[in-house]
Every structure is written in structure tokens, then in C-alpha cells.
Amino acid sequence: MNLFCVGLSHHTANVETRESFAGHAESDCILRRAGCAEALVLTTCNRVEVYGASEKRVSTDEIARCLAREIEKDAHQCAPAFYRYEGEKCVQHLFRVASGLDSMVVGETEILGQAKKAYESARASGAAGPWLHRLFQRAFHVAKQVRTRTEITRGSVSVGSVAVDLARKIFGQLSKRKVLVLGAGETSERTARALVSRGVTDLRVSNRSSDRARELAGLVGGQAIPFDDWRDECREIDILITSTSSEAPLLTPANLAPMLCDRIDRPLFIIDIAVPRDVDPRVNEMDGVYLYDIDSLQSVAEQSLALRRQQIAAAEAIIAEHVPDFVASISRGWNRVSRTAERSSVADSSPRTSEL
């Protein structure tokens, strides 16, 4: 039995090409049309891959034709974008994919869930049998080890999630924290939503246009505050997200100092995503105030990504431990199956011999 993987990903194909092959063939369809013993299709926004087990070789073109939306045309034009891994290389590739090492954002964990979902779907339809079962179970085990034994998933790599992570590092639980969104732009809406998803319940929105403030407050389950009152709110709140179109800074050390005098033991986290900035950078020098503008959030995201990249070698080492072990175990299993098959074929042929 031969394990193989045929597919294309963000490394080899652009989004248009990937679109042409995504979501058009289920695992059981590949099984029927390409003639594999077992097959599984893994489709994400960054990759379309077919994992299969077959006794005879199934060509890459055949798999590509099964996946293509417009038969012949796309498959033929995009043939160079397809890669193929067999045996040990296929095992290694899946382990890397499941661990997030092959992802566009190194260390992202969404891929593991997507792989599990693809496996469940193939298993339910009967397209995945014992060989793919063993391969994928080991891949999930390896991915878990990579996640727990390295820092590959550490830190956030998008601006919104960095802001939320920093808020949690400052305040711990966010459920009792008060948040003011100043300026109802798209980025502040995303950040506010991220905070709400992490448990924030007390959210206030203030905007020059009160209609837009009410609209955003309605969307995120917050409360609209008149724009003239936002300074008073600063005495109470813990997190300020600001993204107004003001030309001059709204917050300076001079006007923030009086607001802080009653809250010396409570930190204030300011996320300034406005360009030009709404908050004077010198505010960050004040005790208990943590100011992050769009560049510093981006810089933290890049640091996290760099930290993840440093962990690639450690993750590859874990995978390297598992690949030969898995290949050896699956070979032993294959030999057992072959011997059983031989014995049963000898038993079947015995009566015929006696007939002769």
C-alpha cells in the first residue's frame, strides 16, 4: 500500500488557482473516480490536498482532474502548481501541515481543527480506512506535542488579537473591565468585537456622529455616550480604543493627568489606532498608562511571529522523531496484512489443487 499526498497550497498557487480546485470534490468522489483504496480531501483557504492510500499508483493529473471545477481546462493549465509526496515524504508533509509549520501564519492552530474535520468527514463517508486513520491520528498526536513542547503557537500575530492579548496581560480577566471606544471606525469595531468575544460586557461608544455611535453600540452590545462626555468616562474606564479623525492629539499628558489622580492603582490601557494619532506618545511615560499605537501593535505582532519562527527547528525535530517511527510501524502493519492475505490465498487455492 502506498501513502501519497497530491495538492496545491499558498506556496505553489495563487488564490485564483486555489479557488478553481477548492470544494468541488469530496473524499468519496476521489475514491470512486481516481481508484484509490482510501482518500481524504483537506481544503482550507490556503490549500487543497488529497491524501490517499492505494496499491497502484494514482497519477497527479488524475487527482487534479477530480478536483478541478472545469474538467481538463483548469487541471491541465495548473498542473505545475501541484506537488506530490509519497511514503515518508507524505507522512512528514502531513505532520508539518497539522502542526501549522506549512501555514501562511506559522504556528496557527486553525489548520488542526480543519484537518480533524476533514478526517471526520472522510471517515463518516467511508473514504478513510485503517491506513489514513493511523496516519491522521498520529498527525494529530504530533501536532499536539509540537504545540505543548514548543512555543510555536505563542503570542498573537494580528493587530486585533495583539490588543486583546495585551489587555489580558494587564488586567487578567476582562469580564469586569470597562471599555470606551472613541471613534466608530472599522478597526475599532473589530477590536471592540474581539474584546467582547473575550468577555468584556461594559462597553461604551462615543463618536462625533451620534448615529454611528448608536449603530456601533448596538452591534457590539454597548452603550452610546455623547462625544462631549468622553473625557469624564476616562476616569472610570480601563481600556480606551481610539480612532477618531482628529488632526490634533485628543489626549496629552497635561489633560490626562487630572483624570488619573483618582485611579493611581488602576492601569489604563490605550489602543490608539488613529492616523494621525489621537494620543500624544508621551502619555506612555505616565505611571500606570500603557499606550499602543498601530505601529507598536504591528511590532508586537511581528515579534510574536519572529518568536514562532525561532521555534520551527524545535518543531521540525519533534516531527523528525515521529516520521521514521510511524513509517516503520505502518510497514510492519502492511507486512502483517500481506502475510494474512497470502495465507488466505493459499487456503483458497488448496481445494482447486486437490481437484486437479
Binding site: T148, R149, F171, D262, D265, D287, Y292, Q310, Q311
Partner: protein, 264 residues
């Protein structure tokens, strides 16, 4: 035999330190059970050492600078075992172990284990005063360690340079709450220690009393500043470090003068 127990105990704490350093250098730090287990094991050997020494002396083993250092290291480990897991400050073990290694390493290397020529008579009040004061120092040491953790994290947040360790530190507000509780615990025990000192029926050297009250006032001022919201958390954390260094200096002074000028 008893020194061997102490060496094994020091090695346990050293294992926690080495593991932390290796993990941090590799950029992989896990707040797992290893540090807690290593410190727990080290604590058991410390306790065995103090127990054997106490039986040999027939009193609480606080008769010279060597024993005071070991008792202090034991108190630090004790308060960590009580407080660390409760406040989910598992990383505190990584900061606690080096302090214990320093205290015990110094005690083992320096020629300070000088036995008294005559067996000292038992004095329950004096033993209570000395032991409770040193446990208070243990709480102050932990407050100092939590203060260092706070300052490290605060600095990284301000400079926006987040290292691997940042992701394992407890949130700032949790750390500050732990600092406050440790300060109250240490302050309560220290007050008890000072008050019990007046019942020891021994003449107290004026310099020691003044210095001890000075330390008490310093911690009282930190707690007052915290209570009245006059001190920012960063300053409280920094004062915890300064306070502990001052307290440790005083402890050294008291024990050293007691050894060089023993009271009748």
C-alpha cells in the same frame, strides 16, 4: 550528615534554576510542575536539616548566621509553597529558586557555621520572636520577587519589547494583588515578631530595636501608601525590592552583632 541534606536541598533548587535558564535561553518556557516539584523536594530536605539541627541544639536552630540563612531560605520556600500555587504564580518558582540557592550557597561556602561554645538555654519567647520574624522575612522576600516580576513585565509593556518570559508572567493586576497580600502577611508576622521580642526577658540592643522599627515603619508606609492610593503599583513593587534588601541587611547586622557580642 546534616550538611549533606543541605547540599542535596541546594541541588534541588539549583535544578529548578538551571531548567529555567535553559528553557529561557531556548525560548521555550513552560510553567509546568518541574519547578514546583524541585522546590518541594528541596523544601523537604531543608526541613529535615532544620529538624536534625534543632534536635541537636535542643532549641529552634537560629543560633548563628548560618542557621539564620538556612531558616530564611526555608521560610521563602514555605511561603512560596503556600502562596505560589494559590495565586497561580507558578513562574514565581523560577524567581524563588535563585534566591534560595544564593542564600543556601552562601551559607554553605562562607565560614559562618560557628557553634556556640556553651549550649544556649531554651527561651521560648526568644525562639518564637526569632522564628516568626524570619518567616515574615520569607513573606517579604516573596513580595520582593513578585515586585521584580511586576517590574520586568511593566518594563516590557512600556518598551513594547515582549520576550518569551512575558507570556508566562501573571497579569499585572494579579501580581499587584499578590504583592499586597504578601506585604500584609509579612507585616502582620513582623509586627508579631517585634512585639514578642519585648517578652524575651533579655536586654535588647538599642540599635537593633531602632533598625527593626525602621523596617517596620518602611513596610507600614508602603502599605499606607497602597491603602490611600498615594503610591502607583510600580513604586510599590520597587519599594518591595528596596524594603527586602534593607530588611536583609538588618537581619545580617542583628545576627552578626549577636555573634560578635553575645548577650549573657
Amino acid at each position: 550528615m546534616d550538611r549533606l541534606l543541605l547540599i542535596v536541598s541546594t541541588l534541588c533548587f539549583l535544578a529548578a534554576v538551571v531548567r529555567t535558564i535553559v528553557a529561557l535561553r531556548a525560548g521555550i518556557f513552560r510553567t509546568g510542575q518541574f519547578n514546583f516539584l524541585a522546590i518541594g523536594l528541596g523544601f523537604i530536605f531543608q526541613t529535615a536539616f532544620l529538624s536534625i539541627r534543632g534536635h541537636a541544639l535542643g532549641r529552634c536552630p537560629l543560633t548563628n548566621l548560618f542557621e539564620v540563612f538556612i531558616f530564611l531560605a526555608w521560610s521563602v520556600a514555605l511561603v512560596y509553597m503556600l502562596v505560589g500555587p494559590a495565586y497561580r504564580l507558578s513562574l514565581m518558582g523560577a524567581f524563588t529558586a535563585p534566591l534560595v540557592v544564593l542564600l543556601q550557597g552562601f551559607a554553605l561556602i562562607a565560614p559562618i557555621d560557628i557553634r556556640h561554645p556553651v549550649k544556649l538555654p531554651a527561651n521560648p519567647w526568644l525562639e518564637f520572636h526569632a522564628s516568626i520574624s524570619i518567616i515574615a522575612y520569607g513573606a517579604f522576600a516573596l513580595a520582593c520577587i513578585a515586585g521584580v516580576m511586576y517590574l520586568v513585565q511593566e518594563r516590557q509593556l512600556k518598551t513594547r519589547q515582549l520576550h518569551s518570559i512575558f507570556y508566562h508572567l501573571p497579569p499585572l493586576t494579579d501580581l499587584f494583588a499578590a504583592i499586597t497580600r504578601l506585604l500584609w502577611l509579612g507585616f502582620g508576622l513582623y509586627t508579631l515578631g517585634i512585639v514578642s521580642g519585648f517578652f524575651t526577658s533579655r536586654p535588647l540592643p538599642r540599635v537593633q530595636v531602632v533598625a527593626a522599627i525602621g523596617i517596620w515603619m518602611l513596610y507600614a508606609a508602603i502599605l499606607q501608601g497602597r491603602h490611600l492610593r498615594r503610591l502607583a503599583p510600580k513604586r510599590v513593587a520597587a519599594l518591595c525590592v528596596i524594603g527586602f534588601v534593607a530588611a536583609l541587611t538588618l537581619l545580617w547586622g542583628i545576627t552578626f552583632s549577636a555573634q560578635t557580642h553575645p548577650l549573657p
